[in-house]
Symmetry: C2
Subunit: 310 residues, 2 copies
């Protein structure tokens, strides 16, 4: 396997890696390393500490410890784009600085998300404060637009202003709006100026690549990484639409359940490791009926997680 | 001035104390102590680290340091109800434990607010996890229901379940829904069972007290504490409705501006201390025109902040 050199930007498919917890709800570094190795083998990069990683249910200290564990285990930081944002900029600065010092390819950065209805000026200052305080020209920020969860959007004018002020730092964006018109506008306005656009779901992968974007960062890449990465490699082939349709079918199964517990339940099931099902509150693991229904639907669809060690 | 003994519950009017920051955006403990002293002299308690305190723009370490500064300066912890919640329970546990150990009267606790659409079961587990891990029977939790900001509500069934499971710990609630029907339901269903109901705004103070509630926790108590505390003391007097109307008039002036920057601008203006105007991003301080308009409106209404030292 070859990885891009540190001067190349990360692209393709990334997984917001789900975080395993032990019975005491402590992050389980060993299981995380194992899952990351499998994801890399399947051809996807590692957006650890994304929304689907329950990142916002972990403290900065816990995330720093996990990042150190991954790097110590030999997971290449050039394949990692950790989420580093918190509501308070000192927290964001601390974790971002650590990720940069470890050599991570980039960081995925939510806007501060507690205060609602804030201005673009305030959000610009939030990002600027972090960039200035980290003060490292290796920093590559991928903006994270996910209004259904954060409830604080990253508007097109804000992107434009950030890109103008920090052209070498603002490297890309993940659009989890679920609104293709918005992704399309980003692709037209900013991709030609060096802002790498990632779809927030593999459901938009083919359209994003056809529109000049660079890939997707998607929950489903935790469970279906190979086929998603395959489409990213072969999107110019004649069977691309058929590949996209097959990805959509798998996604539709998971979407019948709460996503994060369902991802973990599938990993628990296919690796025969029930500990994987654990989530931190406020999330709740699937109940028995949901677990059974998910497994049945996946088996009926001949779904597999090849190479996932028991 | 007398304060309730530690066996009495805190009640009346509390201020979500605005947090001063210096030019480097560091929390300014000295100015905070001074403001807290003035608030206590005016007869209001201290809900430091509330929404209006920009609490969610500060790290846990910054909040612990400020709490220590306040107590070291002689501010009585029995008059304090710090906000201690974060998205991640380890953060909430750390700050809550510290507040309990310092002898704070209680803590104001948001639900975890990043993940949206979570279940009451998940929120129950979130609170239970914190209560069990803090493991101190001195802990008094005031639930913080503020759906316009947190976007994660605390439902009536959730309150009932928490109160049943932890009757001596779940001490009260702040209702910042702005929905009187909801406050009224809390007053009817839970106040008789020992859940102290605080209105989330002085606009509902009189109605809350008449309905059996214990007071309010309100942004405006940062700037208009004396008259709000006066109504809480004299709500059974004939002039109570007139007092409420006068409070509403002052509130209406502040509501023409972004609330937190306006509170700070007023303190800066009346104490002749421009440093008070500083906010952390994503908030933005009032601009010159807004500042002038606010000052003019307050002077036209004969508004004063008596005893606020220059």
């Amino acid at each position: 396997m070859t990885y891009p050199s540190s001067t190349e930007r990360i692209h393709g498919v990334l997984s917001p890696v789900v975080t395993p917890f032990d019975r005491e709800l402590r992050p389980d570094g060993e299981r995380l390393v194992k899952h990351c190795r499998w994801l890399l083998e399947q051809g996807v990069g590692l957006a650890v500490f994304g929304t689907n990683s329950e990142a916002n249910s972990m403290s900065v200290a816990e995330k720093i410890a996990l990042l150190d564990t991954l790097v110590a285990a030999g997971i290449p930081p050039t394949r990692m784009m950790p989420g580093t944002a918190a509501c308070a900029f000192p927290d964001t600065v601390e974790l971002t600085r650590h990720a940069v010092q470890l050599g991570c390819a980039g960081v995925l950065m939510l806007p501060p998300f507690y205060y609602k209805g804030v201005s673009d000026e305030g959000l610009f200052r939030s990002y600027a404060e972090v960039i200035e305080r980290v003060g490292d020209n290796r920093l590559r920020i991928y903006l994270y637009h996910i209004p259904p969860v954060a409830q604080v959007p990253i508007s097109l004018p804000l992107i434009e202003r950030l890109l103008k002020a920090y052209p070498s730092t603002i490297a890309g964006i993940k659009d989890s709006s679920g609104d293709w018109a918005n992704t399309s506008a980003m692709l037209e306005q900013f991709q030609p100026h060096g802002l790498d656009v990632f779809a927030g779901s593999e459901a938009f992968l083919l359209r994003t690549l056809r529109g000049g974007g660079v890939g997707c960062i998607t929950a489903a890449a935790n469970v279906n990484p190979g086929p998603i990465a395959q489409l990213a490699r072969s999107w110019q082939q004649p069977d691309a639409d058929a590949q996209q349709a097959a990805l959509n079918d798998v996604r539709a199964i998971f979407q019948q359940f709460p996503m994060i517990p369902a991802l973990k339940a599938a990993i628990a099931h296919y690796s025969d490791d029930p500990a994987w099902a654990t989530v931190r509150p406020p999330l709740v693991e699937l109940d028995d009926a949901q677990r059974t229904a998910l497994a049945q639907a996946l088996h009926a669809a001949d779904f597999a997680m090849p190479g996932l060690a028991a």
